[in-house]
Assembly symmetry: C2
Homo-oligomer: 418 residues x 2
Amino acid sequence: MDLHAYIQSVGERARSASRLMARAETGAKNRALTAIAEALLQSRECLLEANAQDADHAQRRGQDAAFVDRLTLTTQSVQAMADGLREIAALPDPVGEISGLASRPSGIRVGRMRVPLGVIGIIYESRPNVTADAAGLCLKAGNAAILRGGSESLRSNQAIAACVRQGLRAGGLPEDAVQLVETEDRAAVGELIAMKQYVDVIIPRGGKSLIERISNEAKIPVIKHLDGVCHVYIDDAADLDKAIPIADNAKTQRYGTCNTLETLLVARAIAPRALPPLCAIYRDKGVELRGDSEARTLVPFMQAAQESDWYAEYLAPILAVRVVAGLDEAIAHIARYGSQHTDAIVTENYSHALRFLREVDSSSVMVNASTRFADGFEYGLGAEIGISTDKLHARGPVGLEGLTSQKFIVLGDGHVRT
Amino acid sequence: MDLHAYIQSVGERARSASRLMARAETGAKNRALTAIAEALLQSRECLLEANAQDADHAQRRGQDAAFVDRLTLTTQSVQAMADGLREIAALPDPVGEISGLASRPSGIRVGRMRVPLGVIGIIYESRPNVTADAAGLCLKAGNAAILRGGSESLRSNQAIAACVRQGLRAGGLPEDAVQLVETEDRAAVGELIAMKQYVDVIIPRGGKSLIERISNEAKIPVIKHLDGVCHVYIDDAADLDKAIPIADNAKTQRYGTCNTLETLLVARAIAPRALPPLCAIYRDKGVELRGDSEARTLVPFMQAAQESDWYAEYLAPILAVRVVAGLDEAIAHIARYGSQHTDAIVTENYSHALRFLREVDSSSVMVNASTRFADGFEYGLGAEIGISTDKLHARGPVGLEGLTSQKFIVLGDGHVRT
């Protein structure tokens, strides 16, 4: 197979389909989403069989248990994919929304209309459920999607993609609106991220190394986050009845997510009251603590942190702890070591809260709330395709709006410029 | 000089300054803008002298008259720079604006806060007035700017940059908030557009070849437009009392701008009534017409268009003219040959107007108005740093808002995720 020619033809068909998708009615898109959900449920046996083959191959190729676990579909996960698509169908359609329409002194009226981005390339690892999620979000936002999943999940993805095509047909939409890159050849990714004329944006989902490579090599804009080194800062003016549950929840509610707390900062004045009870909770939950010398004098069972700990995204029951002089040092620490993902202050001090909100340059900045809230569902976006720590276009959890753009519209009545 | 080390140090200082700029108060920024305007007027003699040296050198290096003309400052253009800065001071500050703050079922309140992008690199040709405009817009939006003007205008830019620094000091803002790349070495551009860690976005202003090169080589996101192949489509349902003045104005009000009409499309049913009177106007104004065979049967003095004419951005008194079957063919022509800049329909038909607005995928889409309206001042943005034909982040004229981003803010009262 000529890989270049194959990916180019996928791109060309996606571009054509994107034109039809851009003008598709909301009802047609929702009918397609619902039909895909039904097709997934009806094809459950086929899906699980294809998936079992994928899992079997992965195991025989020596992939570890965690990998096979992420790859494996169950009756429940097929149901969850179908439910997710129905939820997307129930969200308002962002496309066509006109905002800010106002009259100008020249007599023209100027506003902005929300429009699809066009063609979106999604590159992800061997998690077949992403195939359905990503297809659904791109479709609802009026885009065409090119999906490139991990090669170990190809059979599962093909089975899901067949359901997606069936649903698109049922909605009267072009089948090419969602295409799967059906080759195990890893060079396909390189072709996809260079295809400027056919792809408008690339969204990689997966580990840091995958995303870093794609973002360095892509010739197309990439919406991404590399890592989540999230902070909670317990201010000297914190209410400990809020601070301790927040710092506990931010670290221990789930260890492996990008919005999990990785470095705890505590103001010197409150550290003697905050750290001992909080660290006892962590110890009871089996969290390994790595602190600076000041923190360790307060909590003797804490290990010594290295410089590298302040940069670490553990994704594990490990927490770095640092005592800081106060707000300024906390903000400076986050600016130096953070990853601009999600950072929270716990304080009752009005000025400190406002300064933290304004000055911390992260995609989500919080006051008196757990960093674990940073996701599309909690924020009311309905669903998310990922989180962006970039500053351009989309920042933070990216939902349907992040998959669209706005163009200017001008309404005149014969107006000319003088 | 070690160019790499020099540009890196410019970047590092810009990044530091950007942190102070992000928290600068509106009043300080406005005081600085006003002080820069005053400094420019007070230093007028120095500016004009430095500029005369630049112009002299450029002439001796064999630059043509148009080049020297763009480079040359006059008493009037210095006044215009000062006026422009005062206008920017009068615009509302976009930074800190909070929108969409709403309560979520969990009890947290989630909204978005508008924040600066950080460090903006502006690369432009030998037009010294861009130095003041770009500095002013970046400053007001709370960013640090690195300015790299054409090397033939270095002395002029240095004189203007001295006034900018003076104004920044007067406003109590860091002088490094606006830095000029003070070397004639063209390799400086390559260094600047690769400096990912210190520069958040590159905005190139100038000819298509400059922008194309920067956009291909940059490691940083670029906000740009390559060309403006703008269309006016006179629909079969057009009112000719509107269509003829609009098509005339869009082409002839100014020939050299990116929002000037380059290809006129006319519906077959109205062409016999529209083209003869309209083309007579064009002929009287000295516009060369290049049409397809059908247009030429209606207007005998029209020359024959080549395929390349449909792609052409003439920036000159030349116009391509094509007769199309109707709306669908017009939309298809624009999708194929257009540059997604600005396109207009003239029609009284409600459905045609809505379809054109929805389906034409350009940064500005207009009904019954001249394409010449596509700019930041006419749209009420107050000023513009450029026009973007990209879909991500900013589309169309880019004002202060396009120089900012939005982060999520979460207001809790001890909330944790369950």
